[in-house]
Every structure is written in C-alpha cells, then in structure tokens.
C-alpha cells in the first residue's frame, strides 16, 4: 500500500546505499514526484553549493499515481540544484521508466556524491547496485539504452540516460529515456554527468497495490473514455502538439528570428499536415490514451536515414521559426540530433537564435563567430552548433555550452538585451507580448522562463467569463490581451501543475488543453482510489501551495527574489510587428505587469518582494531554513 513505498538513498562516492520507507507525513504533505523531490531539494541541499559538485543531490521521483492505466500516469520527476540557473532544477519526463521503477520496488531515489569512474545504477526487484559504465561512456542516448538492455539480456529494461552533452557538462544537458522522452529543462543531465552517472536502469516484476482496484480500474476507464471522446485529444492523437502552430503562426504569437518578428511568413512547410509525409504512426507514454507523438522516418538528405519520434511544437520553434528555417526536414534532423546527444531542444534553439541575432547585429568578434556562417535560415549551422555545443568543441561550442548568463558575460553587456531568457533559462518560442497571463507565468516560474509551470493556455480560447469564474473562483477576463484576473489564472494553474507533477500524470490531460479535462476534483477521487488518502479539493490545492512555497524558499535562499521575476526588456520596448489587429503593436505594460506580480504574490501568501510570509510558512507547516540575517 501507499505507506510501504520505498526511497533508496544512494551515495556514489562510497558506493553505499540504504533503503527506507517514505514517511507518512511526507506523503501527506507532498504526495510524491515533484512534491517530495522539492521537499528534499530544500532540506538536503546546503545554500550556495556548486551544482556540479558532489554535494548536489539528484532526486528521482515517481508520482503518487504512477502505474495506473490512465492520464499518462508514467511521469517521473528529476530534480537537483540547476547548473544552468542556480535555482530550482526540476524536469519531468514521460515514457515508461517511472512505472518500471515502481515495479522494481522504488518510488524515489536520492543520489549523492560522485562516482570515481563512469557508473550506472541498476535497480531490480528491490535490489540496488552501482555498476561500471566505462563501456557506455561516449555512447549516445539510443546506444546507451540498447547496450544496457543487451548487457542484461532483457528487452524490458527502462533507463534514464545521458548522452555526450551530459558527459561534457553542457549546462542544459537533459536526461532521456526511449526514443524521444526527455527531462529537458534545467540541466539535470549535466548533474548526472558531474556525478559520473551515465544511467539509472530499472527492471521489476513486483506488484503495485491499490486499496480499491476494481473501482480504480472503472474510474480509469471512465477517464480514458472521456479523454479519447474529446475533440482536442483526437486532434492531438493525429497531429501531436504541432497542431498549435497553425493557430499561433496565423494569429501572431510565435517568436521568429529570435524575437524580431511574431509570425513566420511563408511558413506553410512547418504546418502539422506536412508531417504526414514522414509519419509512420503515433506512439504514447505509459498509461496514455492519446498517443500524441509522431514516429517518423527521414529517408533523404545527408543525415538520412533517420528514424525518430517527435517533434514537439517546441522543436518546431527551436529549429524552425526562431532560426528562420522553413523546412520540416530541418526540424526533424535537429530533433534527432538533440535526442541523440541528450540536450534540451528548447534551450539550444533559444541560444542558437540569440547568437544568430547577435551575428546579424555584428555584436560578435571573429573569434566568437568561430568560422560559422550564422545567417538566418542556415540549417547546417544549426546542426553543427548542436554537435559542437554537445561536444564542447571550438570556441563557440564551449561558449554556448554554459548557457545564456556566462555567454552574456563573455560576449558583452549589449548582448543581454537580445537574450530571451529569464533567470538564465531560455523561453519557449511563444511570443507573450500580447498575452499578460502567459507573460506573468514565464516571469515568475521557479525554474526560469518556462511554459510548463503555470501556463493558462485556455486563456487563448475566448471562453465564457462565467465558465472562467467557475474554474478560477473569481472574475477573469476572457480577452487574452487583458490583465484582469490573470494573476489568479496563473496562480491556479501553478497549483494544478504542481499537483500534476506530484501525482505523476501528463499535463496535456489536465486543464492545460481543455476546460473539461481533469482537474482537482478528479485528482481527489484518483488519489483516494489509488492510495486510500482522502483529500478534498482545498486540501489538494494547499499541497500545491506547499510545493510552490518550498520551491520559492529554495530560490530565495539562493538569492532569487522579485528582482529576478522579470521579463526581457524587449517585452516592454518593442511592439509586435505582425499578426491580427488584436495582437499587432502589443507590448507589456510595465505598471500593469507589476500589479499582476503583486497580486500573484498575494495569492500565494508571499510579500511584495516575493518572500513567503511567516504566517504562510506556519499555515503550510514549512520550516524556515533561510540563513539568519545579520
């Protein structure tokens, strides 16, 4: 049952480990996945440590619901202090690893220290081993997974692995599993590399226990029927997230040429239907009834043949609009390369777009250009930069491998204005100037510019205001360019996603996509049927608040506060140039935006500097572990 689930504490320095039962109070307060990881992040990591030192703690956590056959309940949360931002490092990955870890007897892993040589952790039916990975070092993420399966002669093994980018300590290296799944953001692959940890492999045949298995299966079936019967899920199962492009690139909500335009003209070759030419089917993660990712074959071109999965909408921006490459082939090759090397598609796309704009504006020296032709639309430059950055080759590869902030320090202050980053992390290719709610979300996210922490995507749909009030609990404007009620929207979605990540389900199957998708009420029933825990909607929202506040406390302790909850200056100074009249000419209004931030802090119970108030900490039962002020 839920109270018997295990955590393994693994010290790579001493090669020792111990196994404990996850405490009842921790489960009650943080549920699992991201929630429990954030508790440990805050309590186990001393302030100011080097994220690449052995003292950083790598946390791997399955969700409370991981393993149920619904809502994509195969998510895994990976956390550490981020080597990219110095703030909360946290990233979420789908696929099949998380349920396999549970079948192998563990919900959470806490990995400390540094192995003396390349190693991997092998977890099998309640046993933990640290094994030599010398033969895996240097292999890409596909080869590594294949080799581990081959070594154990077991095709069912699921692994979290790093590629060359992680080995080379690229600060936004990701963690990968399967053909396509990635814990992409905040450099968790870099942390694994710093620990000489090439992989965590799991295989298990242990049972999962549920208190009400028949009712749980019935409810999962109900959820799956509801999801598959919806128009949005049917569309996602055909076109994946690429479908978003048709709309955003018509309306004018998509970053183009870094941030110079908000729509790619003549961008029809990136429309979702173009993928039909390459697609050989769709696939999904564990427990998913949608199957939103393409399986594709690229038969021609210098990189062919390529068999891959994806790309997501994110990659369409990273290797399409942001760098002004207008062919799906380019996106597919680049998508394959980032998956192979194990590097965050969004971060590297953002950083290549930035360097291309600096090249255009003649802000780079010859040494920095490093022989590249960084002109817009040069797909070969994109491919070469992915390789050079992943391998840390050449001046430019090394420069960009450390992320925005160190690169800005080397290139010069003037380059900062063009860097579309927040807290050192790149923004998605969405253009939030016309959408205050989306802008507020990226500014305040605990892990840097980020659309997956609080994005109220339904703000774009022009839904009836009475419906929005019913969801959010207070008046909210249905106009996406309005500021009214948008702080509340972001706050509510932030709590929802904190819970989504803690119970281990897919965000796409929540009120990310559609108003009638599952939210707190459905979570309450699922939590009960899965664990026996009885939690009301307000209690679940309070847990979400606790997770967020702990993250905020971690960041505050590392020196982050309101001064860091900001947008790039271009949001305030450069009006959007293209799109419909409702979008064109838009900037973010600085005063109104400041008010939004204050409202948002107030909803969380944080003061005007973004610091959780003492009474908030008391109510949430969070210990104040900040250094004493002298």
């Amino acid at each position: 049952m839920v109270w018997n689930r295990k955590i393994a504490y693994i010290d790579l320095t001493s090669s020792k480990f111990k196994i404990k039962t996850i405490s009842k109070s921790l489960r009650n307060q943080f549920l699992g996945g991201r929630g429990i990881n954030m508790y440990h992040l805050y309590h186990q990591i001393a302030p100011g440590i080097d994220p690449l030192g052995p003292e950083n703690v790598l946390l791997i956590g399955t969700g409370l619901l991981t393993g149920i056959p619904a809502l994509g309940a195969g998510r895994c949360d990976i956390a550490a202090k981020s080597p990219l931002t110095g703030a909360v490092g946290d990233s979420n990955i789908g696929g099949f690893f998380a349920p396999e870890l549970r079948f192998a007897g563990f919900d959470h892993l806490m990995i400390t220290g540094k192995a003396a040589k390349p190693s991997y952790i092998w977890i099998n039916n309640g046993e933990v081993e640290i094994r030599d990975a010398s033969h895996l070092w240097g292999k890409d993420t596909f080869e590594t997974q294949d080799q581990i399966r081959s070594d154990h002669n077991d095709e069912q093994i699921k692994s979290l692995v790093i590629g060359e980018a992680g080995e080379n300590l690229v600060r936004y290296a990701n963690v990968r599993t399967g053909m396509k799944n990635a814990a992409g953001r905040t450099g968790m692959g870099c942390v694994m590399g710093s620990k000489n940890l090439k992989a965590v492999a799991a295989r298990g045949t242990m049972d999962l226990e549920f208190p009400y298995p028949d009712q749980l299966l019935d409810y999962c079936s109900e959820m799956n029927n509801m999801i598959t019967g919806s128009r949005w899920a049917r569309a996602q199962s055909k076109w994946g997230t690429l479908i978003i492009y048709s709309n955003t690139n018509t309306t004018g909500l998509i970053r183009t040429r870094n941030f110079q335009l908000n729509l790619l003209e003549d961008g029809e070759n990136l429309e979702p239907e173009v993928m039909d030419e390459y697609t050989i089917g769709m696939s999904g993660c564990y427990g998913c009834s949608v199957h939103c990712r393409h399986r594709y074959v690229l038969k021609e071109g210098p990189y062919a043949p390529i068999f891959g999965e994806g790309p997501e909408y994110t990659s369409l921006g990273a290797f399409g609009t942001m760098v002004d490459c207008r062919k799906m082939d380019t996106v597919l090759v680049a998508n394959h390369l980032v998956n192979k090397y194990g590097i965050d598609t969004l971060e590297i796309g953002g950083i290549i777009a930035w360097i291309m704009e600096l090249y255009e504006k003649e802000l780079l020296t010859e040494k920095m250009i490093d022989g590249f032709d960084l002109s817009w639309g040069n797909e070969e430059a994109v491919y070469e930069l992915i390789k050079k950055i992943s391998k840390r080759e050449g001046y430019l590869g090394n420069l960009l491998a450390d992320g925005f902030l160190p690169a800005i320090a080397k290139i010069g202050k003037e380059s900062e204005y063009y860097a579309m980053q927040i807290k050192g992390m790149s923004n998605l290719h969405s253009d939030e100037r016309p959408t205050p709610s989306l802008a507020l979300g990226i500014a305040t996210s605990t892990r840097g510019a980020d659309h997956l922490r609080s994005r109220p995507a339904i703000d774009l749909y022009g839904l009836p205001e009475e419906l929005l009030e019913e969801i959010y609990g207070a008046p909210v404007s249905s106009n996406y360019t309005s500021y009214k009620g948008k702080s509340r929207m972001v706050w509510w979605q932030e709590l929802l996603y904190a819970i989504t990540d803690s119970i281990g389900i897919c965000k796409f199957q929540t009120v990310f996509c559609a108003v009638n998708a599952p939210k707190f009420e459905e979570f309450s029933k699922l939590i009960n049927l899965t664990s026996g825990m009885k939690l009301s909607k307000p209690q679940i929202m309070e847990i979400g608040e606790r997770v967020l506040t702990v993250e905020r406390m971690f960041n505050n302790r590392e020196g982050f506060s309101r001064k860091d909850d900001k947008l790039p200056e271009r949001f305030f100074k450069e009006p959007t140039k293209l799109g419909f009249p409702i979008v064109k000419g838009k900037t973010i209004d600085r005063d109104k935006f400041n008010t939004l931030i204050e409202e948002y802090y107030s909803l969380h119970g944080w003061d005007n500097n973004g610091i959780p108030r003492d009474e908030t900490l008391r109510e949430l039962g969070i210990e104040n572990k900040q250094p004493l002020k002298t």
Partner: protein, 94 residues
C-alpha cells in the same frame, strides 16, 4: 446584397473536413456568424453545425473559433467586410 468578402481559415479537424486551408466568402449586410456557419454546413457537411452546443446555442467550449484573432462563442456575432474567421481546436502543449 453582397457587401464584402471575408477570409475563413481552417485548421486541424476543419482542414481535414474541408481539405482546404483557406477560402474567401462573400457576405451580405448584417451578416452573422450563424449565417456563415449555415453556409459552411451546406458546403462541407454537418460537422460545422455540430460545433454549436444545442443546450446553450453557443459555440462549444471544445471548439476554437476566432474572429480577427479573438475567440468568440456567440452565434449572432456580427461579421463584416475583411474579417478573418479561424476554425480550430483549443489545444495546448509545448
């Protein structure tokens, strides 16, 4: 009396149904969205009628219709010369 032209863009399922990305339609004076919908249903079938929730007589919440970039829900929304209508589905993601 014909008073103008509008563009209608089809995305996602609607692109599949119509097999078109864009059409141009002529409109009469005092044209409403409901009239456009009737015309589209005549040309492309009842899928267009089905976007209206019969209980509320509004565009269903799981459909995204944008008029000049803004989501609309009312059937009697006025449509005028040079307007652009988008038929799409609300899908988030990243």
């Amino acid at each position: 009396m014909i008073t103008g032209k509008i563009e209608i863009l089809f995305q996602a399922t609607f692109r599949e149904i119509t097999k078109k990305r864009k059409i141009v339609e002529q409109i009469n004076e005092d044209c409403t969205f409901g009239e456009i919908l009737a015309e589209l249903a005549k040309k492309y079938g009842n899928d267009f009628f089905n976007i209206v929730n019969p209980q509320t007589n509004k565009i269903s919440n799981d459909i995204l219709v944008m008029l000049n970039g803004k989501g609309i829900r009312e059937i009697d929304e006025k449509i005028k010369d040079k307007d652009v209508l988008i038929f799409s589905l609300p899908v988030g993601g990243g």
